[in-house]
């Protein structure tokens, strides 16, 4: 694979339960490569390890085994972080700030100049449809508005690579369509996109490649084109359900 920007090698994570000191393996031997400009969707049931994978790649968590490299640098490296954007699942922001103030804050964390921050905040609030609410405190935002603002802040530094965790969560159908348009625009510009989602039609429409996770393991990776044009599956949902059913039938041990 040419110009790999995300590389996970045997990435594994164990957590210790605080009460019984029992070790729980939440991610096992994740091997994954994502090329520059690719859009990769990670799908799987709740608790499959999708969010953990992203957190390990961003350096929010440290792996028990294995390693991840982002843009050729170890996970969590500040130089790599300067070039990526991240939207957490169900984002919570500082409710005392307005949307514009929050974008300015996010820009400052990247060391962006004041003038550029102000311009970016203007562009991005327009991009995500929050122009009118830009000067309203976030405590008055709906879930969908917070999600849109989360998307905006993840783009403040013009990232080469974005990690979005459930970007469509909390959005109505119009919002979802808007996010798909943003994703298409980013793809056109060559941004590498890695996202988790439960909404398979959106993944199908936007992604070049998908990975299916179940019980902390990446069980299959496939080009979306092959799934839809191969003839074996009706659509991505059909593929997903069959892959999960096979994995369960194959006795993937519950941790």
């Amino acid at each position: 694979m040419a110009d790999v920007v995300i590389q996970a090698t045997n990435l594994s994570k164990e957590l210790t339960s605080s009460l019984l000191r029992r070790k729980v393996r939440i991610l096992s031997g994740l091997n994954l490569q994502v090329a520059r400009g690719e859009t990769f969707g990670l799908i799987g049931p709740n608790g499959a390890g999708k969010t953990t994978s992203i957190k390990l790649m961003l350096g929010l968590m440290r792996p028990t085994e294995g390693a991840a490299e982002i843009l050729g640098m170890p996970a969590g490296d500040k130089k790599a972080l300067a070039q990526l954007g991240y939207l957490p699942e169900n984002p919570y922001f500082y409710s005392h700030l307005t949307g514009r103030e929050f974008l300015d804050f996010a820009g400052q964390l990247f060391g962006i100049e004041k003038k550029e921050r102000s311009e970016r905040a203007q562009e991005l609030t327009k991009l995500v449809g929050l122009t009118e609410a830009a000067d309203t405190q976030m405590r008055k935002y709906s879930k969908g508005m917070l999600q849109r603002l989360g998307i905006a802040q993840s783009l403040i530094n013009r990232p080469q690579l974005i990690f979005w965790d459930e970007p469509m969560s909390g959005l109505d159908p119009i919002g979802r369509k808007d996010v798909r348009q943003i994703l298409f625009h980013l793809k056109e510009k060559g941004t590498t996109i890695f996202f988790n989602s439960h909404l398979l039609p959106d993944v199908n429409e936007v992604c070049d490649r998908v990975g299916v996770m179940n019980r902390g393991q990446l069980i299959v990776q496939e080009d979306v084109k092959n799934i839809s044009q191969g003839g074996s599956y009706k659509d991505l949902e059909d593929f997903f359900l069959e892959v999960i059913a096979k994995a369960e039938a194959g006795g993937q041990a519950r941790s």
């Binding site: 968590m61 991240y86 964390l109 449809g129 013009r158 625009h185």
Partner: protein
Amino acid sequence: MTGNSGNIDGKQAGPKVFEPVWAIALNTFRETVRDRILYALILFAAIVTVLGIVLGSLSVGQDIRILKDIGLAAISFIGGIIAVFAGTNLVYKEVERRTIYLIFTKPVSGWQFVLGKYIGLCLCVAVMVAAMGAFLIFVITAASGSAGFAEQLRQMGQELALIYLELLFVTALATFFSTFSTPVMSVLFTLAIWLAGHLGDSLFELGKLTQNPVISQFLSVIFYCLPDFAGLTRIRGHLLYGTVPGIEVLTYLVTYVFAYVLMLLVLAAIVTERKEYT
């Protein structure tokens, strides 16, 4: 959201070391001010005004002195409450609300985060102390007339500076505990050390009195490890009687406070950097 898709491609801005510190400080300042600080100010203003009126009506000659003592104690107490309660939530709340994900997925180090949070809260406490101090000076001037106003201002300024120095210390303690402990435990730890720091001299004296060398050694180790809040109180006592301590005492005091604060912030940064955000 549709239409103009903005410029979301291209070049990367290089981070500057103190830009994130300042951003986090300003955000913390705004959050503290917008959340709770006004209530404390109103409470203080109410206490001092009522005291001013009551003591003014008694007119026994000592009213200004009592008003000043109570006012300064109230500033120290309310400033302490803000430092302890806001400080102990400082880092913990960011983790609980998961806003920390948004910080540490940007090019921000643990020390920048901790320093930013600390400076933000210290700014907030500074504004509080200055506002309450100004109000107290106003009430005292209104009660005593303009005679000796400059002297009053100088004395009050010195005492307020010492109170603020102590609050810097307390804020650093609270910030340190908030990096690894729940707010309730952090409040208990901070208050315990604050109180023990005021009793440091007594511990030292107790160590000298005891016959047991192990206990004596133990107490003197504790004395040297605890922050010397008693030293700050001693100097405030001198100021109350109009004695200004020498420059070497003040230099030592400021250096001591900043060295202790620096040590606490370094420890807090190490804890924050090593922590996992699950």
